[in-house]
Every structure is written in C-alpha cells, then in structure tokens.
Subunit: 145 residues, 2 copies
Amino acid sequence: MHKELRLDNQICFRLYSAARLVMQAYTPLLNELGITYPQYLVLMVLWEKDSQPVNDIAHRLMLETNTVTPLLQRMEKLGIVCRRKGEQDKRQQIVSLTEKGREMEERAFDIIPKGMGDRLANCPLSINDFQHLAGELDSVIDSLK
Amino acid sequence: MHKELRLDNQICFRLYSAARLVMQAYTPLLNELGITYPQYLVLMVLWEKDSQPVNDIAHRLMLETNTVTPLLQRMEKLGIVCRRKGEQDKRQQIVSLTEKGREMEERAFDIIPKGMGDRLANCPLSINDFQHLAGELDSVIDSLK
DNA sequence: ATATTTTATATCGTAAGCGATTTACATGAT
DNA sequence: ATCATGTAAATCGCTTACGATATAAAATAT
C-alpha cells in the first residue's frame, strides 16, 4: 500500500473533481441561456474580441481544433456564431458572433455572477483566498502547457 | 464589456484548464500501464479497499453510476477488474481487482510519482504551496458537492 | 401477502476531449 | 514554375461525463 497512490493525496483528483463540480454549478445557469460550459468559454473569447479564426479560439482555451471545430459547428446550429472563410488565408474559418450571440452577454451578466455567488456562498474562502488559488492554478497551468 | 465575464477572471476556467493539463501530463505515464486517468482513479479506490459495489466507487469519485458502469465494463474487458453479483443484495455488482489489476499497483508506483515529479519540476510551487492548494480545492469541493 | 416505493445498476442519447489521419491551402526551396 | 514542406480545419474513432429513462431487486406500506 503506497501512500503516494492514495486518492486523498492526489492534487490531480482534486482538480478533476473541483473542475467538474464547478461546471455542474454553472449548468443550471447556462441552461437558462441554452448553452454548455465550453460554449460559454467560446462566447467569452468572442465577447472579448469578435471574429477570430478557429486556431486563435483554440489557443486561447488551450484546446485542440478537433475539439473546438465541432463545438463551433454546434454553436452555429444554435445561431449564436457564424463562420466564414478567411479572405487573405482561405484555410481559416473566421468565427463571429451573431446578433443573438452578442445579446447573450447582457443576459449572462444578469444571470451568471449572481448565480455563482449564491452557489459559492457557503464556501469558506475569501476573495483573497480565491486570488491566491488563481495564482497557484496559473503556476500549474504555465508549467504544463 | 463586463469584466466579470472575462476569461482571465474566471476561477472555473483555471480549474478546467489545470485539470485537463494535469490529466494530459499523466497520459503518457498511464499509457505505459495501458489505462486512462479515470481508470487509474478506479484502481486507486480498489487498491485502497478491494471488492466494492459500483455505488461506493462512484461515491468515492463523486461520479454518477452511469459514468462508472461503462468505465468498469471497459476495465473488465482489459482484465484488470471483475464484477460479480452481490450475494446479500443481488442488485449490486461487486467490483474486485484481478491479479493483473493488483500487480499494477507496483508498476504504477515505479512510474507515476517519479514521472509526475519530472513533469512538474519547473513548476515554482513548493510542497507547502501544493498542500495549501489542496486545502483550498477541498473547500471548493466541499461547498459544491 | 400484495402493492407501492425506493434503491442499485444499466442503457440511451448528446456533448466534450483528444490522438491520429485527411484535405485544402499557403509558403519556402530548388 | 514546380515540388516539398508546413499549416488550418475537419473528420474519425474511442473514452469520458451526465441527464433521462429502464429494469430488477429490496424495503416499506397497507
């Protein structure tokens, strides 16, 4: 029985569980908008800067294009983004928000921050703790990406 | 442009990315054992306590049985666990390690801790930082599960 | 004892993720 | 200019996740 191999000693299991549980907390809120968490991530990327090629979106999210392409195809079906061939580089697909996608930012702003605040109300961590956590996660991310 | 909706301000995106990147770091190591990360989690549960019903494994991993059942079916095909009906309660499936599954603990011990240590060598966090991170993640997990 | 409800697991459908390969276009080399 | 190399997306196959539903056995109610 090796203590290194005990579940309770695994930082990765904690990351894996925390990520899943936080995504689950988002789910009912995102359902009101009719989107999933990864779709919400794509929207945040596009709200920040509209009309980007698939590759840029994938890099920003640290995902492969073979994950992002089908994601964008589903979002196109939902009518929240549109895709068109790049003009200088015809290999690219430039992804842009539709009017519906743009309008979702206000709705998200009304629903998500408050909703997540409520869900994390009984979490004992302070704003400071969360900032600290963010920094530590950034260290892990930077050293692995 | 709402700063609350910026990707950089999202603790959840960090958790999601860190979890994926750490799993990716495990992948080449687990490939040597011929298993995936969730399968490794199941093995850790069974190495700790062999012969458990599906429900107990699912609870330990905070997963639903409809995730764990197919996972166990694949592991059975790989010959690392076996499943048999519960004797007192015939609804249960008792999952046990095979000889192959039991032997994998030593191989995992030879490969995983050292391999992950190497991969995180350039991560600036100390042992103390990791313990602190573990505590903060536990707070998030406890308040959401 | 029989009917109702709960519980344990399995099945189905859909959306991610990701390794491997393919296709179309662009870029650089000769 | 032609050919080789590189790059952007897309496609394929497989494994998670998870909501919803089904099925069988157990527990409870009447």
